[in-house]
Protein backbone atom coordinates (compact mmCIF):
# COMPACT_ATOMS: atom_id res chain seq x y z
CA UNK A 1 0.00 0.00 0.00
CA UNK A 2 2.78 2.41 0.97
CA UNK A 3 4.62 1.64 -2.27
CA UNK A 4 1.50 2.45 -4.30
CA UNK A 5 1.02 5.72 -2.39
CA UNK A 6 4.68 6.66 -2.80
CA UNK A 7 4.53 5.95 -6.52
CA UNK A 8 1.64 8.38 -6.87
CA UNK A 9 -0.69 5.65 -8.04
CA UNK A 10 -3.48 6.35 -5.53
CA UNK A 11 -5.82 9.19 -4.67
CA UNK A 12 -4.49 9.23 -1.10
CA UNK A 13 -7.00 6.73 0.26
CA UNK A 14 -6.34 3.01 0.83
CA UNK A 15 -6.71 0.87 -2.27
CA UNK A 16 -7.01 -2.79 -3.16
CA UNK A 17 -3.62 -3.95 -4.48
CA UNK A 18 -4.09 -4.86 -8.16
CA UNK A 19 -2.77 -8.41 -8.07
CA UNK A 20 -2.49 -10.39 -11.28
CA UNK A 21 -5.41 -12.57 -10.17
CA UNK A 22 -7.66 -9.64 -9.29
CA UNK A 23 -6.98 -7.88 -12.59
CA UNK A 24 -7.59 -11.10 -14.53
CA UNK A 25 -10.90 -11.60 -12.74
CA UNK A 26 -12.05 -8.17 -13.78
CA UNK A 27 -10.86 -8.65 -17.36
CA UNK A 28 -13.03 -11.74 -17.63
CA UNK A 29 -11.11 -13.14 -20.59
CA UNK A 30 -10.87 -9.87 -22.49
CA UNK A 31 -7.60 -9.20 -24.34
CA UNK A 32 -5.65 -7.13 -21.80
CA UNK A 33 -3.66 -5.29 -24.44
CA UNK A 34 -6.59 -4.29 -26.60
CA UNK A 35 -7.47 -0.62 -26.67
CA UNK A 36 -10.42 0.01 -24.36
CA UNK A 37 -11.25 3.59 -25.26
CA UNK A 38 -10.53 4.73 -28.76
CA UNK A 39 -9.56 8.25 -27.83
CA UNK A 40 -6.58 9.51 -25.84
CA UNK A 41 -7.37 10.81 -22.37
CA UNK A 42 -6.16 14.31 -21.55
CA UNK A 43 -3.94 15.54 -20.10
CA UNK A 44 -1.42 12.76 -20.62
CA UNK A 45 -3.23 11.66 -23.82
CA UNK A 46 -2.65 8.00 -23.03
CA UNK A 47 -4.82 5.45 -24.83
CA UNK A 48 -5.97 3.03 -22.10
CA UNK A 49 -5.99 -0.69 -22.62
CA UNK A 50 -8.46 -3.02 -20.94
CA UNK A 51 -5.67 -4.02 -18.57
CA UNK A 52 -5.17 -0.38 -17.60
CA UNK A 53 -8.87 0.04 -16.86
CA UNK A 54 -9.11 -3.24 -14.97
CA UNK A 55 -6.07 -2.39 -12.86
CA UNK A 56 -7.53 0.98 -11.89
CA UNK A 57 -10.91 -0.59 -11.20
CA UNK A 58 -9.28 -3.08 -8.82
CA UNK A 59 -7.53 -0.21 -7.01
CA UNK A 60 -10.96 1.37 -6.50
CA UNK A 61 -12.48 -1.91 -5.24
CA UNK A 62 -14.72 -2.58 -8.23
CA UNK A 63 -16.10 -6.10 -8.27
CA UNK A 64 -15.91 -8.58 -11.12
CA UNK A 65 -19.69 -8.55 -11.37
CA UNK A 66 -19.40 -4.94 -12.47
CA UNK A 67 -16.67 -5.49 -15.02
CA UNK A 68 -16.45 -3.14 -17.96
CA UNK A 69 -18.19 -4.07 -21.15
CA UNK A 70 -17.98 -2.64 -24.62
Amino acid sequence: MAALHDAGLTDGLPVIPPSTEAVAALLGGRNPLAVAIGAPLPIAFAVPTWEDLATIAVLAAARASRRCST
Binding site: L13, P14, I16, A61
Partner: protein, 350 residues
Protein backbone atom coordinates in the same frame (compact mmCIF):
# COMPACT_ATOMS: atom_id res chain seq x y z
CA UNK B 1 -10.35 -5.94 18.88
CA UNK B 2 -8.78 -5.78 22.36
CA UNK B 3 -9.22 -6.90 25.92
CA UNK B 4 -12.14 -4.45 25.86
CA UNK B 5 -13.58 -4.95 22.38
CA UNK B 6 -14.43 -8.20 20.67
CA UNK B 7 -11.86 -9.67 18.32
CA UNK B 8 -12.87 -11.47 15.16
CA UNK B 9 -10.63 -13.84 13.25
CA UNK B 10 -10.85 -13.68 9.49
CA UNK B 11 -8.91 -15.21 6.62
CA UNK B 12 -5.88 -13.21 5.58
CA UNK B 13 -7.63 -11.94 2.47
CA UNK B 14 -8.18 -8.25 1.89
CA UNK B 15 -11.29 -8.93 -0.19
CA UNK B 16 -12.84 -11.16 2.48
CA UNK B 17 -12.14 -8.65 5.23
CA UNK B 18 -13.63 -5.83 3.16
CA UNK B 19 -16.74 -7.91 2.48
CA UNK B 20 -17.10 -8.93 6.13
CA UNK B 21 -17.00 -5.31 7.27
CA UNK B 22 -19.20 -4.04 4.46
CA UNK B 23 -22.01 -6.52 5.18
CA UNK B 24 -22.02 -5.37 8.80
CA UNK B 25 -22.02 -1.68 7.94
CA UNK B 26 -18.58 -1.12 9.46
CA UNK B 27 -17.12 0.80 6.52
CA UNK B 28 -17.90 3.77 4.31
CA UNK B 29 -17.84 1.65 1.17
CA UNK B 30 -14.26 2.41 0.18
CA UNK B 31 -11.26 0.10 0.58
CA UNK B 32 -9.71 0.30 4.03
CA UNK B 33 -6.70 -0.93 5.96
CA UNK B 34 -7.75 -3.87 8.15
CA UNK B 35 -7.55 -2.84 11.83
CA UNK B 36 -5.63 -5.92 12.93
CA UNK B 37 -4.73 -6.48 16.56
CA UNK B 38 -1.08 -5.83 15.75
CA UNK B 39 -1.74 -2.57 13.87
CA UNK B 40 -4.12 -1.16 16.45
CA UNK B 41 -1.79 -1.98 19.35
CA UNK B 42 1.15 -0.46 17.52
CA UNK B 43 -0.77 2.75 16.77
CA UNK B 44 -2.10 3.01 20.33
CA UNK B 45 1.47 2.57 21.57
CA UNK B 46 2.60 5.41 19.31
CA UNK B 47 -0.11 7.66 20.70
CA UNK B 48 0.97 6.88 24.26
CA UNK B 49 -2.52 6.88 25.79
CA UNK B 50 -4.42 4.07 27.45
CA UNK B 51 -6.42 2.01 24.99
CA UNK B 52 -9.50 2.03 27.22
CA UNK B 53 -9.46 5.77 27.95
CA UNK B 54 -12.86 7.19 27.05
CA UNK B 55 -12.26 10.42 25.13
CA UNK B 56 -15.96 11.29 24.71
CA UNK B 57 -19.25 9.82 23.58
CA UNK B 58 -20.53 10.24 20.04
CA UNK B 59 -24.17 10.84 19.18
CA UNK B 60 -26.68 9.64 18.18
CA UNK B 61 -25.79 6.20 19.59
CA UNK B 62 -23.77 7.79 22.39
CA UNK B 63 -21.06 5.25 21.74
CA UNK B 64 -17.98 5.54 23.89
CA UNK B 65 -15.08 6.81 21.83
CA UNK B 66 -12.19 5.07 23.53
CA UNK B 67 -8.66 5.60 22.31
CA UNK B 68 -8.66 2.07 20.93
CA UNK B 69 -11.86 2.55 18.96
CA UNK B 70 -10.71 5.88 17.54
CA UNK B 71 -7.40 4.31 16.58
CA UNK B 72 -9.08 1.31 14.93
CA UNK B 73 -11.10 3.65 12.73
CA UNK B 74 -8.04 5.78 11.98
CA UNK B 75 -6.18 2.66 10.89
CA UNK B 76 -9.07 1.76 8.59
CA UNK B 77 -9.00 5.26 7.11
CA UNK B 78 -5.34 4.96 6.14
CA UNK B 79 -3.91 7.24 8.81
CA UNK B 80 -0.29 7.22 9.79
CA UNK B 81 0.59 6.96 13.49
CA UNK B 82 1.62 10.61 13.50
CA UNK B 83 -1.89 11.63 12.36
CA UNK B 84 -3.51 10.20 15.50
CA UNK B 85 -3.29 13.26 17.79
CA UNK B 86 -5.24 15.27 15.22
CA UNK B 87 -7.85 12.55 14.80
CA UNK B 88 -8.36 12.21 18.56
CA UNK B 89 -8.59 16.00 18.93
CA UNK B 90 -11.08 16.24 16.06
CA UNK B 91 -13.26 13.52 17.59
CA UNK B 92 -13.17 15.29 20.94
CA UNK B 93 -14.07 18.61 19.29
CA UNK B 94 -16.92 17.00 17.37
CA UNK B 95 -18.43 15.84 20.66
CA UNK B 96 -18.47 19.39 22.07
CA UNK B 97 -22.09 20.33 22.61
CA UNK B 98 -21.54 23.58 20.68
CA UNK B 99 -21.20 21.56 17.46
CA UNK B 100 -24.49 19.79 18.27
CA UNK B 101 -23.44 16.38 16.98
CA UNK B 102 -26.76 14.67 17.65
CA UNK B 103 -28.47 17.03 15.23
CA UNK B 104 -25.55 17.02 12.79
CA UNK B 105 -25.54 13.24 12.58
CA UNK B 106 -29.28 12.73 12.34
CA UNK B 107 -30.48 15.68 10.27
CA UNK B 108 -31.91 15.42 6.76
CA UNK B 109 -29.55 18.30 5.82
CA UNK B 110 -26.38 17.16 3.98
CA UNK B 111 -23.97 18.58 6.52
CA UNK B 112 -20.50 17.10 6.71
CA UNK B 113 -17.90 18.02 9.31
CA UNK B 114 -14.89 19.91 7.97
CA UNK B 115 -11.66 19.64 9.92
CA UNK B 116 -9.60 22.82 9.58
CA UNK B 117 -5.95 22.60 10.62
CA UNK B 118 -3.92 25.64 11.58
CA UNK B 119 -0.37 26.04 12.86
CA UNK B 120 2.95 24.22 12.49
CA UNK B 121 1.44 20.73 12.52
CA UNK B 122 0.02 21.29 9.03
CA UNK B 123 3.46 21.48 7.44
CA UNK B 124 4.89 18.85 9.75
CA UNK B 125 2.31 16.30 8.62
CA UNK B 126 2.02 17.51 5.00
CA UNK B 127 -1.63 18.47 5.37
CA UNK B 128 -2.46 20.18 2.11
CA UNK B 129 -3.47 23.83 2.01
CA UNK B 130 -2.51 24.62 -1.57
CA UNK B 131 -3.33 23.18 -5.01
CA UNK B 132 -6.53 21.16 -5.05
CA UNK B 133 -6.51 20.95 -1.27
CA UNK B 134 -10.17 19.85 -1.05
CA UNK B 135 -9.65 17.16 -3.68
CA UNK B 136 -7.83 13.89 -4.30
CA UNK B 137 -4.14 13.17 -3.91
CA UNK B 138 -3.56 14.41 -0.37
CA UNK B 139 -3.20 11.41 1.85
CA UNK B 140 -3.08 13.21 5.20
CA UNK B 141 -6.16 15.32 4.46
CA UNK B 142 -8.15 12.35 3.21
CA UNK B 143 -7.09 9.92 5.92
CA UNK B 144 -7.68 12.35 8.80
CA UNK B 145 -11.02 13.51 7.44
CA UNK B 146 -12.10 9.95 6.75
CA UNK B 147 -11.02 8.78 10.21
CA UNK B 148 -13.44 11.23 11.82
CA UNK B 149 -16.21 10.07 9.50
CA UNK B 150 -15.57 6.39 10.29
CA UNK B 151 -15.71 7.23 14.01
CA UNK B 152 -19.04 8.96 13.44
CA UNK B 153 -20.30 5.88 11.58
CA UNK B 154 -18.91 3.09 13.71
CA UNK B 155 -18.91 4.67 17.18
CA UNK B 156 -21.59 7.33 16.82
CA UNK B 157 -23.96 5.19 14.80
CA UNK B 158 -24.37 7.70 11.98
CA UNK B 159 -25.09 5.10 9.33
CA UNK B 160 -26.94 6.27 6.21
CA UNK B 161 -30.67 5.72 6.46
CA UNK B 162 -30.40 4.81 10.13
CA UNK B 163 -28.59 7.18 12.49
CA UNK B 164 -27.84 9.45 9.53
CA UNK B 165 -31.15 10.63 8.05
CA UNK B 166 -29.68 12.80 5.29
CA UNK B 167 -32.05 13.19 2.37
CA UNK B 168 -29.30 13.07 -0.25
CA UNK B 169 -26.04 13.18 1.68
CA UNK B 170 -22.87 14.74 0.42
CA UNK B 171 -19.49 13.49 -0.88
CA UNK B 172 -17.79 15.70 1.72
CA UNK B 173 -19.10 13.21 4.27
CA UNK B 174 -16.44 10.75 3.13
CA UNK B 175 -13.43 12.88 4.04
CA UNK B 176 -13.23 16.63 4.62
CA UNK B 177 -10.03 18.06 6.04
CA UNK B 178 -7.92 21.01 4.96
CA UNK B 179 -5.16 23.23 6.30
CA UNK B 180 -5.31 26.98 6.00
CA UNK B 181 -2.77 28.41 3.56
CA UNK B 182 -1.37 30.87 6.08
CA UNK B 183 1.74 31.55 4.01
CA UNK B 184 -0.31 32.93 1.12
CA UNK B 185 -2.97 34.62 3.19
CA UNK B 186 -2.85 38.40 3.50
CA UNK B 187 -4.76 38.21 6.78
CA UNK B 188 -4.19 36.75 10.22
CA UNK B 189 -4.75 32.99 10.31
CA UNK B 190 -8.07 31.62 11.54
CA UNK B 191 -6.66 30.30 14.81
CA UNK B 192 -4.97 33.60 15.68
CA UNK B 193 -8.21 35.44 14.97
CA UNK B 194 -9.84 33.10 17.49
CA UNK B 195 -7.38 33.73 20.31
CA UNK B 196 -4.66 31.14 19.78
CA UNK B 197 -0.94 31.91 19.40
CA UNK B 198 0.59 31.90 15.94
CA UNK B 199 2.76 28.88 16.77
CA UNK B 200 -0.10 26.90 18.29
CA UNK B 201 -1.40 23.98 16.29
CA UNK B 202 -5.19 24.05 16.32
CA UNK B 203 -7.90 21.68 15.13
CA UNK B 204 -11.28 23.22 14.28
CA UNK B 205 -14.40 21.31 13.34
CA UNK B 206 -17.21 23.01 11.42
CA UNK B 207 -20.50 21.33 10.49
CA UNK B 208 -20.89 22.45 6.89
CA UNK B 209 -21.73 21.42 3.36
CA UNK B 210 -19.03 20.70 0.81
CA UNK B 211 -17.35 23.57 -1.07
CA UNK B 212 -19.58 25.65 -3.40
CA UNK B 213 -17.31 27.21 -6.01
CA UNK B 214 -17.23 30.99 -6.61
CA UNK B 215 -15.36 31.98 -9.75
CA UNK B 216 -14.54 35.57 -10.66
CA UNK B 217 -12.14 35.93 -13.57
CA UNK B 218 -13.23 39.43 -14.51
CA UNK B 219 -13.10 41.67 -11.47
CA UNK B 220 -9.86 43.55 -11.15
CA UNK B 221 -10.31 45.16 -7.75
CA UNK B 222 -11.25 43.96 -4.31
CA UNK B 223 -14.77 45.35 -4.37
CA UNK B 224 -15.54 43.41 -7.52
CA UNK B 225 -14.37 40.13 -6.03
CA UNK B 226 -16.31 40.79 -2.83
CA UNK B 227 -19.43 41.66 -4.82
CA UNK B 228 -19.21 38.30 -6.59
CA UNK B 229 -18.66 36.42 -3.34
CA UNK B 230 -21.57 38.28 -1.74
CA UNK B 231 -23.74 37.29 -4.68
CA UNK B 232 -22.88 33.62 -4.11
CA UNK B 233 -23.74 33.83 -0.40
CA UNK B 234 -27.16 35.30 -1.13
CA UNK B 235 -28.72 32.10 -2.42
CA UNK B 236 -32.15 30.76 -1.58
CA UNK B 237 -32.25 27.44 0.17
CA UNK B 238 -29.29 27.62 2.52
CA UNK B 239 -29.89 26.86 6.17
CA UNK B 240 -28.56 30.34 6.96
CA UNK B 241 -31.33 32.12 5.16
CA UNK B 242 -33.95 30.07 6.98
CA UNK B 243 -33.48 31.95 10.26
CA UNK B 244 -30.69 34.40 9.35
CA UNK B 245 -28.28 32.65 11.69
CA UNK B 246 -25.13 30.56 11.77
CA UNK B 247 -21.43 30.68 10.98
CA UNK B 248 -20.93 30.15 7.24
CA UNK B 249 -17.40 29.59 5.93
CA UNK B 250 -15.86 31.53 3.07
CA UNK B 251 -12.59 30.05 1.77
CA UNK B 252 -10.84 32.62 -0.40
CA UNK B 253 -8.34 31.40 -2.94
CA UNK B 254 -5.03 33.23 -2.41
CA UNK B 255 -5.38 35.25 -5.61
CA UNK B 256 -8.84 36.56 -4.72
CA UNK B 257 -7.67 37.21 -1.15
CA UNK B 258 -4.76 39.31 -2.37
CA UNK B 259 -6.98 41.23 -4.80
CA UNK B 260 -9.22 42.11 -1.88
CA UNK B 261 -6.46 42.86 0.62
CA UNK B 262 -4.43 45.01 -1.72
CA UNK B 263 -7.43 47.32 -1.97
CA UNK B 264 -7.24 47.82 1.77
CA UNK B 265 -9.81 45.35 3.11
CA UNK B 266 -8.93 43.78 6.45
CA UNK B 267 -10.61 40.51 7.39
CA UNK B 268 -13.11 42.47 9.49
CA UNK B 269 -13.81 44.72 6.48
CA UNK B 270 -14.40 41.65 4.32
CA UNK B 271 -16.92 40.27 6.79
CA UNK B 272 -18.73 43.59 7.02
CA UNK B 273 -18.92 43.92 3.23
CA UNK B 274 -20.18 40.38 2.76
CA UNK B 275 -22.74 40.69 5.54
CA UNK B 276 -24.08 43.95 4.09
CA UNK B 277 -24.10 42.82 0.44
CA UNK B 278 -24.64 39.06 0.69
CA UNK B 279 -28.39 39.38 1.17
CA UNK B 280 -31.37 37.78 -0.49
CA UNK B 281 -34.46 39.77 -1.47
CA UNK B 282 -37.31 38.96 0.91
CA UNK B 283 -39.73 39.42 -2.00
CA UNK B 284 -38.12 36.45 -3.80
CA UNK B 285 -38.65 34.05 -0.91
CA UNK B 286 -41.52 31.61 -0.89
CA UNK B 287 -44.75 33.21 0.31
CA UNK B 288 -45.04 30.56 3.01
CA UNK B 289 -41.84 31.92 4.51
CA UNK B 290 -43.00 35.49 4.62
CA UNK B 291 -46.81 35.53 4.81
CA UNK B 292 -47.15 36.29 8.51
CA UNK B 293 -44.54 39.06 8.45
CA UNK B 294 -42.36 37.45 11.13
CA UNK B 295 -39.51 36.90 8.66
CA UNK B 296 -39.40 40.56 7.60
CA UNK B 297 -39.70 41.57 11.27
CA UNK B 298 -36.54 39.63 12.04
CA UNK B 299 -34.74 41.09 9.02
CA UNK B 300 -35.70 44.56 10.23
CA UNK B 301 -34.51 43.77 13.74
CA UNK B 302 -31.11 42.66 12.38
CA UNK B 303 -30.56 45.25 9.67
CA UNK B 304 -32.98 48.14 10.07
CA UNK B 305 -34.75 47.40 6.78
CA UNK B 306 -37.24 44.76 5.54
CA UNK B 307 -36.17 44.36 1.92
CA UNK B 308 -33.02 42.22 1.86
CA UNK B 309 -32.36 39.32 4.23
CA UNK B 310 -28.89 38.77 5.72
CA UNK B 311 -27.59 35.21 5.91
CA UNK B 312 -26.58 35.57 9.54
CA UNK B 313 -27.03 37.89 12.52
CA UNK B 314 -23.81 39.86 12.37
CA UNK B 315 -20.64 40.21 10.27
CA UNK B 316 -18.47 38.51 12.89
CA UNK B 317 -20.33 35.24 12.33
CA UNK B 318 -18.76 34.85 8.88
CA UNK B 319 -15.78 32.48 9.05
CA UNK B 320 -13.05 33.56 6.61
CA UNK B 321 -10.11 31.35 5.68
CA UNK B 322 -7.64 31.21 2.79
CA UNK B 323 -6.68 28.03 0.98
CA UNK B 324 -5.79 26.79 -2.47
CA UNK B 325 -3.31 27.92 -5.10
CA UNK B 326 -3.37 30.90 -7.47
CA UNK B 327 -6.40 30.94 -9.73
CA UNK B 328 -9.58 33.00 -9.80
CA UNK B 329 -11.63 30.71 -7.59
CA UNK B 330 -12.87 30.80 -4.02
CA UNK B 331 -15.65 28.87 -2.37
CA UNK B 332 -18.10 28.94 0.48
CA UNK B 333 -19.53 26.32 2.74
CA UNK B 334 -23.01 26.89 4.14
CA UNK B 335 -23.30 25.22 7.52
CA UNK B 336 -26.09 23.35 9.28
CA UNK B 337 -27.28 26.83 10.29
CA UNK B 338 -27.87 28.46 13.65
CA UNK B 339 -27.91 25.26 15.65
CA UNK B 340 -24.18 24.62 15.38
CA UNK B 341 -21.01 26.55 16.11
CA UNK B 342 -17.41 25.90 15.04
CA UNK B 343 -15.30 24.29 17.76
CA UNK B 344 -11.53 24.82 17.97
CA UNK B 345 -9.16 22.77 20.12
CA UNK B 346 -5.48 23.24 20.83
CA UNK B 347 -3.50 20.24 19.62
CA UNK B 348 -1.54 19.16 22.70
CA UNK B 349 0.45 16.21 21.40
CA UNK B 350 1.32 17.07 17.81
Amino acid sequence: MSAHDATVELEDSLEEIQAYFEVRGWSDGLPFIPPTRERVDRFVGHLGRAADEVVCTLAPRNGEATIERIVANAVMAGCRPEDLPIVVTAVEAAADEALNLNAIQSTTHPTAIMILINGPVADKLSIASGPGCFGPGWRANLAIGRALRLCLLNIGGGSPGDGDRATQGNPAKLAFCVAENALESPWEPYHVEHGFALDDSVVTVIACEGPHNIQDHYSIGGEGVLTTVAGALSQAGSNHLLRNTGFPVIAFGPEHAHQVAVDGYSKADVKRFLWEHGRFPVARLSKEWTADGAYADRVEHLTGQRIDAPITQRPENLQVIVCGRPGKHSCWMPTFGGDTRPVSRLLRHG
